[in-house]
């Protein structure tokens, strides 16, 4: 009975989720080992084998999402690296885009953070090509060789190569890499024309530098995991999750490690899409709330919305990524006062240590969690009794802080929830309304330890008709890893105008992209029948800054198909921005994209036995605005079987989360164990 395994290493726990072909699942939770996160993964795998009778042969694949890359970026744990650039352009990274973040006057306060590559390690080589790929100055091999030796002499073993216009032709960069490796075997080299063949030199340079830096890091990590798997006799292939919501076999992932940077949030979204698909819902807004932040993403037609650039810390990274909006609102978000007595909630956070006041670990300032426990929304025993929350400490913190503003503990607690939810609602608006999507047409899915505490209230505010609480909201990332396909995204800048688009060139270039994706998928063992190719293009009206992605229809690339692609752009623009210029303005192509999917066997959840009746296990006083505290039934999630239904107000408690259901809302359990909450706003609308 082959199991597929998804593993996510989070800050506190490493979660393992396994599903077999019948939909039987196993969940393993072991403490994370932040100093050496591979150990947590080994421990989870070992625990799984122990539980299932040591049958390592029953594991067909291991899919893993890791924060190793993103943490290295956030903590700026960078080894000294070098960069090889076109002569005359050694300051690309120093200058960046010359932007001062913030409002007018920030220039008097802000200080540019240290650069990722020290200027002294940026070396030039004579070469130059133009925007069409034509050679202006030939590549100077001797100079490149001298620079390679310069790096070797200083033991700078990580080098990014970024030449001007290399997106148009990577020949000089590829030759530079050959020379670097000849002169300095074992050096980690990333070249921009492979990492990201898109125009705009600063963004491409930063992305290439990141990829180079992460190569040894992710490489070491993957080698350790593979070592642990070998020790445990697991012969199954290891796949690493990527920011775009798919996986690559580990040996390929380490070649382009920058694309794994945001795999955690992406995996959670993929998991939600899978849950939705299996209960007939394809239009979802995912709402994932943890200890310090909230992630929101949009799923349309079963497909997560994508972006081509993300910002990690201060670094713009060009990488195909699921479009996740993050705001600093989590359970540990602190209330604080800005000048002028402005009450703020987050992004300052109490973190894991000392944590919220009610944890009793020395925290004295009130957090969202303190407000929730004071209002009765959160019980005092969590994680099956493993964690106890002290409501008196929460009250003390609220009272003390509230006194500064003339607010009682109750008024402040309400306010913290309201302001926190305003920030969360803002994230949902950013993911939907700001992209021309009406949240009233979506289902809100709640994940993370704190998501279900706020999802049903937010849904009312935003008039979202329905909330879906999955059976285990806390393991969304490992679920997402588990149900992912292998995914290879390739891109190429090819600027063309609508009126004289070169159909033959488009045909040729898409052919090149398809060949690259095919090769990557073949390396990972996918036969033609298991490969799916999705072609798309980034288009814009001539003169716009931002492109919109348009998916190409199936079929050979000919004049009719290219015309259909341009025509579809008007619709995408209309939907995104509310207007379009069909017949009035001309379009241009900027980037060609191809997503190659290697389809793994589709997993399905197992239908659960139903027939139960919802019986509260207890009642407690819970605060609901505007009426105040009221006796509220508490349900244990494990007792809620398919078919059971009940009305709010209600609290549903389970090991990894607590769900707050508001007065006027109705909850029922579907046959896969999802809790579906219909909002009052939705009832009025229909």
């Amino acid at each position: 009975m082959p199991f597929r395994i998804g593993i996510d290493s989070g800050g506190t726990f490493t979660d393992l989720l396994a599903i077999d072909e019948h939909g039987n699942t196993r969940v393993i939770k072991v403490p994370s080992t932040p100093a050496s996160p591979d150990l947590g993964v080994r421990n989870a795998l070992a625990a799984f084998l122990k539980e299932t009778g040591d049958d390592a042969g029953a594991i067909e694949a291991v899919l893993h999402g890791t924060t190793v890359a993103v943490n290295a970026i956030l903590q700026r744990k960078f080894r000294p690296m070098g960069m090889l650039v076109t002569q005359g352009f050694s300051h690309i990274v120093e200058m960046a885009r010359q932007t001062v973040p913030g409002e007018r006057g920030s220039i008097y306060v802000w200080v540019k953070p240290p650069r990722i590559v020290p200027l002294a390690n940026v070396r030039e080589v004579p070469e130059r090509i133009d925007a069409r790929g034509g050679v202006i100055t030939p590549f100077d091999e001797a100079a490149a060789r001298a620079q390679a030796r310069w790096f070797r002499e200083r033991n700078i073993d990580t080098v990014a190569v970024c030449f001007i216009n290399a997106y148009a032709d990577g020949a000089h960069e590829r030759r530079a890499r050959e020379i670097l490796l000849e002169e300095y075997p074992g050096c980690h080299v990333a070249i921009s024309s492979e990492t990201l063949p898109e125009y705009r030199e600063y963004e491409r340079a930063i992305t290439t530098c990141m990829s180079a830096l992460l190569m040894p890091l992710l490489g070491d990590y993957v080698r350790k995991i593979q070592g642990h798997m070998a020790e445990l006799s697991i012969a199954a292939p290891l796949y690493m999750m990527k920011s775009g919501g798919g996986a690559s076999r580990a040996d390929l992932a380490v070649e382009q490690p920058v694309h794994t940077a945001l795999s955690g949030p992406a995996a959670a979204v993929v998991g939600s899409a899978w849950l939705g698909r299996n209960c007939g819902r394809s239009e979802l807004i995912t709402f994932d709330m943890g200890g310090t932040s909230t992630d929101v993403a949009l799923i349309e037609n079963g497909r997560p919305a994508m972006v081509s650039e993300v910002e990690v810390d201060v670094y713009p990274i060009r990488t195909p990524a699921i479009d996740v909006v993050t705001v600093g609102a989590g359970g540990g978000s602190l209330a604080w006062l800005a000048p002028g007595e402005r009450l703020q909630v987050g992004p300052r956070s109490a973190g894991a240590d000392p944590g919220p006041a009610c944890y009793g670990r020395g925290g004295t300032e009130p957090t969202i969690t303190d407000a929730n426990v004071f209002l009765g929304r959160l019980g005092t025993k969590l994680a099956g009794g493993a964690v106890t929350l002290n409501v008196d400490l929460a009250r003390d913190a609220l009272t003390r802080f509230g006194a500064q503003l003339g607010l009682s503990a109750l008024e402040l607690a309400r306010g913290i929830v309201e302001i926190g939810e305003m920030n969360m609602a803002d994230a949902i608006r950013q993911a939907s309304v700001q992209k021309g999507r009406d949240p009233r047409l979506f289902t809100l899915t709640a994940g993370g330890g704190a998501g279900p505490l706020h999802a049903c209230g937010l849904a009312e505010t935003l008039r979202i008709p329905e909330v879906l609480i999955p059976p285990s909201p806390g393991i969304g990332c490992s679920l997402g890893a588990l149900v992912s396909d292998v995914r290879e995204d390739v891109v190429m800048t090819d600027i063309q105008r609508e009126e004289d688009a070169d159909v033959a060139r488009l045909h040729r270039n898409f052919g090149k992209l398809e060949a690259r994706a095919t090769e990557a998928l073949e390396r990972q063992g996918f036969a033609a029948k298991d490969r799916v190719m999705i072609r798309s293009a980034d288009l814009r009206y001539r003169g716009m800054r931002t492109e919109l992605n348009v998916i190409l229809p199936a079929g050979a690339i000919d004049a009719a198909l290219v015309a259909a692609m341009f025509d579809a752009f008007h619709d995408v623009h209309q939907q995104s921005y509310g207007y379009a210029y069909r017949g009035k303005q001309k379009i241009e192509v900027v980037n060609l994209r191809l997503t190659g999917l290697g389809k793994l066997r589709e997993l399905r959840p197992k239908a659960m036995q139903g027939g139960g009746v919802a019986t509260p296990t207890a009642t407690r006083e819970v605060y609901f605005a505007p009426d105040g505290f009221r006796p509220t039934p508490i349900y244990a999630r494990a007792t809620l079987t398919p078919g059971t239904a009940f009305a709010g107000p209600a609290i549903v408690e389970q090991y990894d989360t607590t769900t707050v259901i508001h007065p006027g809302q109705r909850a029922r359990v579907d046959d896969q164990g999802n809790l579906i909450v219909a909002t009052a706003a939705g009832a009025h609308a229909s």
């Binding site: 001062v100 409002e103 007018r104 006057g105 800005a338 002028g340 402005r342 302001i419």
Partner: protein, 607 residues
């Protein structure tokens, strides 16, 4: 009972206030994002020269005000009774903007929010479009002596009437641009941004009602004033602090015979109020560098200098309660119709720096050195398709050094402005950028030096006409507290060849041939503190990284760098012994020194 009394009696609770304030700021950001994603003009989309704002029913700017215009022109021209739901107004006429707009390329769109039939708020967005007609491509021409030479002048009029667009007007505005699809894209982007803003503000009224929001808006304004009065101003000693500087106009326009135009301010701090009096500023010019702003307009620029005294604060229209501006009549800053204005940028950008100088005097040098971080040139040329195209570059300069930190290199001084990537330029315009990097020896020396300016060399691949709108070509950004001035700007065509030609500070049209090269070098930031007190190892690092030359290390910092790149301690000690620190608070640099010796300028207050 007026609003203020009501607020005292029924103080709004801080939670509702924060929700209202937070929603207003989120709305502004949402509007700005809409503009940025859909606007066309390079100046808007890359330079981010656009603003959005929310105003209350009394026309007060309740969102962070870093550049929004005013809404008064609507009721100044249309009786309240004539306003209908779905009306959208447009204007760009500085002289009919109530002092809120400063030149014709800034097209302003405003939509009143009618809620239950009553005017309760406004949403506004404006942006700098690439061309509105006038003497030359780009509509920014120093030689215009009268605003009617600068392009189409749109008075405050209805562009959309109760939801129905006035197509005749819409098409007329677009038709008056050399780049009509840019302007069409920009106009629509601004209109849609206002629509987004109106919907969000209306949602606030649906939730909280008019009375609560009136109190909330009043309190949002008051708490900005309170932050200034209670947190920022107590850090400034009472007193009167003058400062002056000059804008360059030498040789730009025959009709303007002056070479350097004085901007002067006297900052008076008295108790919990600060006044900026611009008495002593020169009379308006025949060249296009005039501004017709009002007090509110200037306060929103000037208030930015207090940001380091009061961080985490939203500066909105309430700043005018704590800060006053006095404008004598008919000056560069209070120009009268029909003054030309299209190149007013360097009058305007100098303004916060001018006031920073006065604040620096008040704080005995505890502010950053000067930052001149906007250099602009452009080219009208023909692309590979035979179409006429216009490219405007915006290059940053170095930030001022400050106690504890060197100034940052290569910053674009527009709010969140950004550079034009080399690859963007080369993909879309007949240009080849040969070098683009930090400028050696440009940083103003200091214990904490200024940031470096930029050197960018561009080759033209097709014939065209270039223009330059810049400043500091004959002067320099000042250093403070012993810090030295940063390097000034320069533009040279075909440097190092027999055809070498220096370009002036403000030039409308210089023809270039295919193959010509333009070298643009931008300002370094002013330094802070005595450079001879700078840590010698930092000087050695700067030399090692090619930021400053060995010669400059010795002459500017008294640091001798050995052959191996390290500090020669003995020689450095000897060199530094000979140095005597200057007593002047400000260093204006050698260029100003030369102008003063030549009798070109005269300081009226000591440095």
């Amino acid at each position: 009972m007026n609003v203020v009394q009501r607020l005292r009696n029924s103080r709004i609770d801080p939670i509702t206030l924060e929700i209202v304030g937070g929603t207003i700021e989120a709305t502004r950001r949402e509007m700005e994002l809409q503009v940025e994603r859909t606007a066309r003009s390079v100046v808007i989309r890359e330079g981010r020269d656009y603003r959005a704002g929310i105003f209350d029913g009394q026309g007060r700017n309740v969102s962070s005000a870093s550049g929004a215009a005013h809404v008064d022109p609507i009721l100044d021209n249309y009786p309240l009774a004539e306003l209908e739901d779905g009306d959208v107004f447009v204007w760009n006429d500085p002289f009919k903007s109530a002092g809120g707009l400063t030149h014709l390329p800034d097209i302003c769109i405003t939509q009143p929010v009618l809620w239950r039939g009553k005017l309760v708020a406004y949403a506004q967005a404006f942006g700098h479009v690439s061309d509105v007609g006038g003497l030359a491509p780009g509509s920014v021409t120093i030689s215009a002596t009268d605003i009617h030479q600068e392009g189409i002048i749109i008075p405050p009029v209805k562009l959309v009437n109760a939801g129905k667009i006035n197509d005749a007007l819409y098409r007329t505005i677009i038709n008056n641009s050399r780049y009509p699809s840019d302007v069409q894209g920009d106009l629509d982007a601004l209109i849609m941004a206002c629509r987004v803003g109106v919907a969000r503000v209306r949602g606030l009224f649906d939730r909280y009602g008019e009375e609560t929001l009136e109190i909330a808006f009043e309190e949002l304004l008051e708490r900005c004033a309170r932050a200034l009065r209670d947190v920022a101003f107590p850090q400034i000693p009472d007193g009167t602090y003058p400062f002056e500087d000059f804008v360059e106009i030498a040789g730009a326009v025959p009709a303007e015979t002056r070479n350097y135009l004085r901007l002067k301010v006297t900052m008076t701090k008295q108790g919990d109020h600060v006044t900026f009096d611009f008495d002593g500023t020169d009379a308006q010019s025949k060249a296009a560098i005039n501004i017709a702003g009002d007090e509110r307009f200037y306060v929103k620029y000037i208030v930015s200098i207090f940001r380091n005294l009061v961080p985490d604060t939203i500066f909105n229209g309430g700043a005018t309660r704590a800060i006053s501006v006095k404008l004598p009549e008919g000056t560069l800053l209070s120009a009268k119709y029909p003054a030309s204005a299209s190149c007013r940028a360097y009058t305007l950008f100098r303004l916060p720096e001018l006031c920073l100088g006065a604040l620096s005097r008040a704080l005995d040098g505890r502010t950053p050195g000067s930052s001149d971080t906007r250099s602009t040139w452009g080219v009208a040329t023909t692309n590979a398709y035979g179409e006429r195209v216009f490219f405007r570059d915006g290059i940053g300069g170095g930030g001022g050094g400050r106690a504890g930190f060197d100034g940052s290199d290569a910053l674009n001084g527009n709010v969140r402005g950004r550079s034009r990537p080399v690859e963007f330029m080369e993909a879309h315009y007949p240009l080849l950028v040969e070098e683009d990097g930090l400028r050696v020896d440009s940083a103003g020396p200091g214990k904490f030096r200024g940031g470096q300016g930029v050197r960018r060399v561009t080759r033209f691949l097709a014939p065209g006409v270039i223009h330059v709108v810049d400043d500091r070509l004959q002067t320099q950004p000042w250093g403070v507290a012993g810090g030295k001035a940063g390097a000034g700007t320069s533009y040279v065509l075909n440097p190092g060849t027999p055809q070498e030609r220096r370009i002036g500070c403000k030039v409308d049209a210089v023809a270039v041939k295919a193959g010509d090269r333009l070298e643009a070098q931008t300002c370094g930031g002013g330094g802070w503190g005595d450079p001879f007190a700078r840590d010698p190892t930092k000087v050695a690092t700067d030399v090692g990284e090619g930021r400053i030359s060995r010669d400059a290390a010795l002459t500017d910092y008294g640091v001798v760098i050995a052959v191996d790149g390290t500090v020669d301690a003995a020689a450095t000690k000897a060199a530094r012994l000979k140095h005597t620190a200057s007593n002047a608070l400000f260093d204006r640099g050698t260029r100003f020194g030369a102008l003063e010796s030549a009798g070109e300028i005269r300081w009226t207050v000591p440095n």
